[in-house]
Symmetry: C2
Subunit: 322 residues, 2 copies
């Protein structure tokens, strides 16, 4: 073929909000994109919207293998082990990524299935409180950070392929090690979900509360509208990181309660909270442009750059060092 090579096809396994949006975004970027969903409802909804979808894993995976597709794991964490067994049996050489929220747990499952060599984890930091195929759209990821794994095992070629998909979806890629991602996700995603649930439950018992509820409550409980199964799946899969994060938040609240009853003051919590939020508002996002994928120390360099707020906005050069 003259000119640019055709883009890698994409095979999305799981057509919920996230997977369904990846399928749409990949197709919108001009790729061959096809998907699988366990329930016929999701498959039919996708087909009715003009997409290439099936409920038959035994045909979709051989097709992925034949076309060398990048397989995107987009099912809930509890469904992964069974799905990975099928991938290992029918498409063991395809490059593989995922879009689920807990990277260490997924990496463990992928490793147990013997597929780590072809796997580079991912996590788009986007979503809505709605779920399922109908809630998705091709622009869901535009401008959002999308974590891409730079763990020690990561292969440069697979990394480049996953990065290409992330950029096609309009996201900025944030390179991170799985365990660092999970600690951060506990703080900025899983803890907020638990706080939102606790806030909703607390207010529900107070007469007049819902009658008066406005912006603070609506914002503070928005993610409590997320389907309970999804919230449970991500919080429970990340328990090792979530528990200490939750402890820290409870410690801060307990100290504020103590100070409020003893001295009538919540100054410490309020001042440090405001300072932290201000730091977040001013957090820099620099573009990572100097790293060559596959050169010595490239994974470590990318992890450090991601930690400092660096993002990848366009393709990086690749030198396959293997």
């Amino acid at each position: 073929m003259a000119g640019h090579a055709a883009k890698t096809p994409v095979c999305v396994l799981g057509l919920g909000l996230i997977g369904g949006s990846v399928l749409r975004a990949a197709a919108a970027a001009g790729r061959v994109a096809f998907g699988y969903n366990r329930s016929a409802d999701g498959v039919n909804a996708a087909i009715n919207d003009g997409f290439d979808a099936t409920a038959d894993l035994d045909t979709v995976l051989p097709r992925a293998a034949e076309t060398g597709a990048l397989i995107v794991l987009a099912v809930p964490v509890p469904a992964l082990p069974t799905l990975l067994d099928h991938v290992h049996r029918l498409a063991p050489n395809c490059p593989l990524t995922d879009v689920t929220s807990v990277k260490s747990a997924v990496l463990d499952d992928v490793t147990a299935a013997g597929l780590a060599e072809k796997f580079v984890g991912g996590h788009p930091m986007a979503g809505t409180s709605h779920s399922g195929w109908p809630a998705g759209h091709a622009e869901l990821f535009v401008g959002a950070p999308w974590v891409i794994s730079v763990d020690d095992h990561v292969d440069p070629t697979v990394f480049a392929a996953v990065l290409d998909l992330i950029l096609d979806c309009g996201s900025v890629a944030v390179p991170a090690r799985s365990e660092e991602h999970d600690a951060a996700a506990a703080a900025i995603s899983h803890l907020p979900h638990l706080l939102a649930e606790a806030l909703a439950v607390t207010a529900a018992d107070v007469p007049l509360a819902f009658a008066l509820a406005a912006g603070s409550f609506r914002d503070g409980t928005r993610v409590a509208g997320t389907a309970p199964d999804l919230v449970r799946a991500m919080c429970e899969a990340n328990a090792p990181q979530l528990v200490p994060t939750l402890d820290r938040a409870m410690e801060l609240l307990a100290a504020a309660r103590e100070s409020l009853t003893a001295d009538g003051s919540v100054a410490e919590l309020v001042n440090t909270g405001h300072a932290a939020r201000t730091r977040y508002d001013n957090f820099p996002r620099n573009e990572i442009v100097t790293v060559v994928i596959g050169e010595e120390d490239w994974r470590r360099e990318l992890a450090a750059a991601g930690r400092a707020g660096g993002v990848i906005r366009s393709a990086l050069p690749v030198r396959d060092s293997r």
Copy 2:
């Protein structure tokens, strides 16, 4: 004057976000509206925007007294006692309301200043994370619930005057007793602020957290951007209601932590939180139309209607029973 009587003039004391927005909304509704602010900055900003403002309490209060203006207390709670002394000295017969967030504390201060007879408390449930005159606008309250007090002492004529201002600002009035308001405000406003502060502080200590933060974190910490003095003032003034509310939230979080470590599950919190949020989304807002202000039991009837989600969207008939 033929036709409709002129609207009651409005004198706003304190031209921050809320007071400044009341001044603008009252003027936009065609009222004579004038204001006072302690700092010259706020006064100059208001004057530059074409409004009638002064930093001189000793002229603004006699003017309110001469014109029979409705005085709106819009200063932080700690500044109230001194301000109320001036009101008592210079404009003791003006109808009086407030727009601060803790109704029992304000009522205590107003009673101590000998002004309870002319006072009907209010609390617009609107705001942004910004503060000061420049952050305000005439439409800030449009569509928002605005609590109006129906405590036992409330005078029908003053109530009707305050209700008229609330409706002029485009809000829906929610009648409530002060102590019930404060319990609800603890749950839907003050607790969300403390949770947002705790979330911001927790995430600030986790490397990579700000780099990945997206919707859940941004929404969950939005109110941590509010000026610390304002957050402290409302939380600390409502400590008697906030402490048990905070205890309830911490109890829910502690139970979830226990369940997560013991059984790997956060099902209880997540399911009840989702159910509570769903109830909130479907909370009915019925219009209150049958109550006559000043008739027997009118305050009790309004309090019960407010508790059930009732709101006042247009003027109610008044019969002054005094």
